[in-house]
Amino acid sequence: MIIEKEYKEAILNGNISLAESLAKKAIDDNLEINLVIDQFSEAIREAGDLFEEGEFFLPELMRSAEAMKAAMAILEPKIMESKEDRFLGKIVIGTIEGDIHDIGKTLVAAIMSAEGFEVFDLGADVPVDKFIDKAEEVGAQLICISALLTTTMVGQKRLIDNLKKRNIRDKYKILIGGAPVSRKWVEEIGADGSAENAVSAVKLARKLLEV
């Protein structure tokens, strides 16, 4: 299908105006919106894979995510109208206190939001309790905590400990990320998982939330 190729082209080239016009056209032509979103999602996943392979770099990936967001902004109201359940869930994400590395976290947030999650990005250097308060406030299902430094990783543990203290650990799924995060660390602190990259983070989030 030529149109599928266009969706992919718009996202992979980070062409915001093409992504927008394709989204508008899909609505005008009365296309099945969910299928359209699937096409866009597949393209953004490919952008993520290209980044992992060293074909794409940060600017290309961010442009792709921006194009995806632009298309979703047009498609989302249509989904609301049709009352079809495309909404995947709410995510609170941020880089832990003491750590101002936010590239990885921003990528995950962009791809999560492109995929259809409602993302509350708290930024970098976020105190543990702010994650929890925000999650409580918006009724999130998932909390993602990034730590790029081995010295700040302990904050991931503290967040989970604080959730336990407040007796709300089971209300949330917790994903942790950052270069030094290992399988062992996930188990040690009792998180629900961690992923190699932004694309697998989205897959894992969908799996954990069963959406």
């Binding site: 060293g54 770099f57 961010m62 590239i103 081995t150 700040t152 660390w185």
Partner: protein, 276 residues
């Protein structure tokens, strides 16, 4: 410097540069350890001392104080025939499309820090850990403009299937070309990659420039063991890698994250012995 500060108790959330005023004795001690280990150049504790970076910690109003103090502390212990490099790290902000900072804001950011370091009389500038070539170029221009002393610039590369690139996609050749044109006096690489990986990177830099080459790798990859950060590289094997890099064309060598004075001492002993 950063790894040593953490060893000495620097807590997460505190900008390392604040120790120039709160813990000057500790900073002095670290500099002295490095000079005693055989360092010819030590870097001031100002890596995150630019306004944009300090603002991220809520210390935006301390730029002058932290940078000036940093140089004063280093001057206190710098032996004759050794040098003090004004360390300048990334702003932590990105130009579009990744972030929303403007080139003008970056120019102001680095001009301010370079000017303060110049007024405090550093011997050279060491611009390092840059992942965006444009930002590195802006920092080099700012340093060049501040005062006529040598400017070293070091990029951070990542190994991909297609070779070494910065995370922004700048190739080694692009970095060498742009930094050379900006008047940089030595160029190279630091951080992120280990000494083993950096061995392959140095000949590629050597092919792209005639300038002196800097090699300042990490001491392996950080691991968290029982709540403590451990770098697995040992000084002896790190030094062997550095010696290989010197054979491949590096002339300014040292250690980045995870290294400590023991690494420098080992390197210094080996390469200074070779010279004799």
């Amino acid at each position: 410097m950063g790894s040593r500060l953490i060893d000495l108790g620097l807590q997460p959330g505190i900008p390392p540069e604040s120790w120039n005023t709160t813990h000057p004795e500790e900073i002095k001690k670290i500099h002295l350890e490095y000079y005693n280990a055989g360092s010819d150049i030590v870097l001031t504790n100002t890596f995150g001392g630019s306004r944009l970076k300090l603002e991220a910690h809520g210390h935006g109003d301390r730029v002058r104080e932290y940078n000036t103090r940093a140089v004063e502390i280093a001057k206190n212990v710098c032996p004759p025939n050794a040098y003090i490099a004004g360390d300048i790290g990334p702003s932590g902000k990105f130009l579009p499309p990744v972030g929303s900072i403007t080139e003008q804001e970056l120019i102001e950011n680095f001009t301010e820090q370079a000017t303060i370091l110049a007024e405090a009389n550093v011997d050279l500038f060491f611009i390092e850990t840059m992942v965006d070539l444009k930002e590195a170029e802006i920092a080099v221009n700012a340093a060049k403009k501040a005062v006529d002393i040598p400017v070293f610039a070091s990029m951070t590369y990542k190994k991909t299937k297609r070779g070494f690139f910065t995370i922004m996609g700048n190739s080694i050749e692009q970095c060498s070309e742009v930094l050379e044109k900006a008047g940089t006096d030595a160029i190279g690489a630091n951080c992120t990659i280990s000494s083993e990986e950096m061995i392959d990177l140095i000949p590629l830099i050597a092919n792209s420039t005639d300038l002196p080459i800097i090699a300042k790798p990490n001491a392996g990859q950080p691991q968290l063991v029982e709540g403590k950060t451990i770098y697995l590289s040992k000084p002896a094997e790190f030094t062997q890698d550095i010696q290989q890099m010197i054979k491949n064309g590096a002339t300014i060598v040292g250690g980045c994250c995870g290294s400590n004075p023991k690494f420098i001492s080992e390197i210094s002993k080996k390469i200074k012995r070779e010279k004799q």
